[in-house]
Amino acid sequence: MSGSQSSGSVDRTPVEGADVCVVGSGPAGAHVAHSLASEGHSVVVLEAGERFDMESRVDRMKAQIHPEHGVDEIWDMGGDRDAYTSSGELEIPLNKRRVKGIGGTSLHWGGVTPRFREKDFEMQTRHGVGVDWPISYSDLQPYYAEVEQEIGVKGPDDAPHQPPREADYPMDAMPLSFTDQLFAEAGDAIDVDVQSAPMAINDGTYDRNQCLGYGTCEHVCPSGAKYTAERHVDKAEREGATVIDRVPVQRLEHGPDGEAVTAAVYVTPDGTEHRQQADVFVAAAGAYETPRLLLLSDSEQYPDGLANSSGTVGRYFLDHPTGGVIGLLPEQETHQDEYGPVISSVIYQYYEGEALSERGAINMMLINVAGESPAEMAMRSSAIGDDLLAQIDGQYGNTIGVIMNVEMLPDADNRLTLDESTTDNHGNPVPEISLDAGDYALNAVETGQQVGQELVEEMGGNVLFQGGNLDLSPDEMIEDSKGGYHPMGGTRMGTDPETSVVDSNLKAHDLSNLYIASGGVFPTAGAANPTLTIMALARRCGEHIHDNEF
């Protein structure tokens, strides 16, 4: 078999006789690849980015803490390779929200892993907004359970405001942090339920390093305790899959009858172009790059792009608009940073209910890292010696915070297109994102921020900062409050080929052997962090391919 690494050099030539070619090695690609390789299929994974070593992660962690470095620098994003255009109401700092490399954006995610709720699959039926998914919660439930076991999730078995569970979480719930306890006490007083967050962080139960408490889960975990899709890339390789890094796929080619994809055309670092052939193709390059790849794969037969007879590739793009409240508790030490994981508790009380006909679901995450760390303050300051210590002592120690993601509704005008005026390092037009979240999301942000403010005030504190990317201009926002964390839509699933790109099994309506595994297939956004659902859909997709394509 070719395409495997050998000592001294890496063979990046195509794999002969491949059953399945997966484009992308993030959470979706990794789980599809592992699922299919485990069934004995010949799988090749093509990844645009590199294979990052573990040794460099402490330096990446230090770069995260260093105030001179942007989030995009942590995982080497940026430059012509990653050029993009953000042209809508909402500014999306794209390269601060994604990673290209083995493991994809799970390298820098926060590891929060809630399931979508039953209502998320039935928004039109239940609340008269958005659309229903072509599958239900119960269709996906077994795959949620499988993924939670595969990746290792700590979670509360009996907490309220969760969808039905078939079994306990694989690991015990996160203990409440110091500030979680402050929130819980305030919540008790005003009837707000604080509960442990489901988190993909190893406490020693799983066969990977346990959490060491660096406090930088997002955007880099030096210990390896936070789950990344590298684990399932590795497992796929051990099952015989071939994974080739640094080979951005330029386009997908189809045969003369236009019914099937025949090759993924990729370029190696030395500029050599190759064609990877396979029986089945899975586009799993994330919600930003997958629609772009389809649009770049236009042909005489498909002048509007591959799998785009509906004209919806790139449309109905979704994100989770953000909100946040940072409070100051003058009389209370808050011990930010000391807990380790950046998030350990959540408020899911405003995720469901009748209010969803008027506003989006709200996913509130209580953070253990509100404000800068002492080292960050020290490096940002110009002071030295005792003056510096006094300055840090004055700034650190009394902050508390909650951040939130809210639900926006699908809208055909929210879309990813190609910006023909700008090209990447291979001469391909870059992605252009145009997004306007709308009042449904804004109403949710306002509700969530009101709850956050009431909690801070119940603790005897003052609100220092309040806002998100819907109610503040980009200039007024801290970087973390800008959106783009959870891209979804753009290649949505549905039963009608006129209005969707893939069917309920994630197979393209237009082609007989092309699947899309990505948050891009979500018809609606919910408010839950989407990665667990992406992985569950990917495993379901892998099982379908095994059962039906061979």
Binding site: V58, D59, F178, H335, S373, P374, A375, S381, L389
Partner: protein
């Protein structure tokens, strides 16, 4: 509060550096010394870095040679590139000190060192890994020393944080079990 070799090893651990191969010491005058494993270490400049740390760190932190030698030497062992940055940074500090006060940085009084930092772009200027000479000092020497101190319990405890961000001090620590 005395900053010991143990503190430095802790800070190194936080920085992911495990190569603590038998180091002994930099020459206090910045001259070449021999480490415990027989490797020549080209003048790490314990004198200059000590003089720098003394003014960067709060007065209650007593900086020891053992602390700096362990931290900086091990960074050099771990990463050749850091050795040259450290040497170049000390050269820059000495050059600035000569220009301002006619002596190497290590020989300046505390007041002279403070004045030098305040009168130049040291600290107040940008901190850039591959920038100008002073920007590199800010990044590779000053920020590195501040990270070692404030991203460890050594400095964190002074502001009430025993497990600051950047320090692998364990999972799920809740001081006193929570609010009283």
């Amino acid at each position: 509060m005395k900053l010991t070799r143990r503190d430095a090893i802790g800070a190194l651990s936080a920085a992911g550096i495990t190569a603590l191969a038998g180091c002994e010491s930099f020459g206090g005058d910045g001259t070449e010394t021999e480490s415990g494993d027989g490797t020549d270490t080209a003048g790490g400049g314990g004198g200059a870095t000590m003089a720098l740390a003394e003014v960067l760190y709060p007065s209650e932190a007593e900086v020891t040679e053992a602390y700096l030698d362990t931290y900086l030497y091990s960074r050099m062992v771990d990463e050749d590139a850091y050795r040259s940055e450290l040497e170049a940074g000390i050269e820059t500090l000495d050059s600035l000190a000569q220009e301002a006060d006619g002596s190497p940085f290590a020989d300046l009084s505390v007041d002279q060192r403070v004045n030098l930092i305040e009168d130049t772009d040291l600290r107040s200027g940008d901190s850039v890994p591959d920038g100008t000479d002073i920007q590199r000092v800010n990044y590779h020497l000053i920020d590195e020393l501040l990270f070692a101190f404030y991203a460890s319990p050594t400095g964190g405890e002074l502001v009430g944080n025993t497990n600051p961000r950047g320090w692998p001090g364990g999972f799920g620590y809740v001081p006193n079990g929570g609010p009283q």
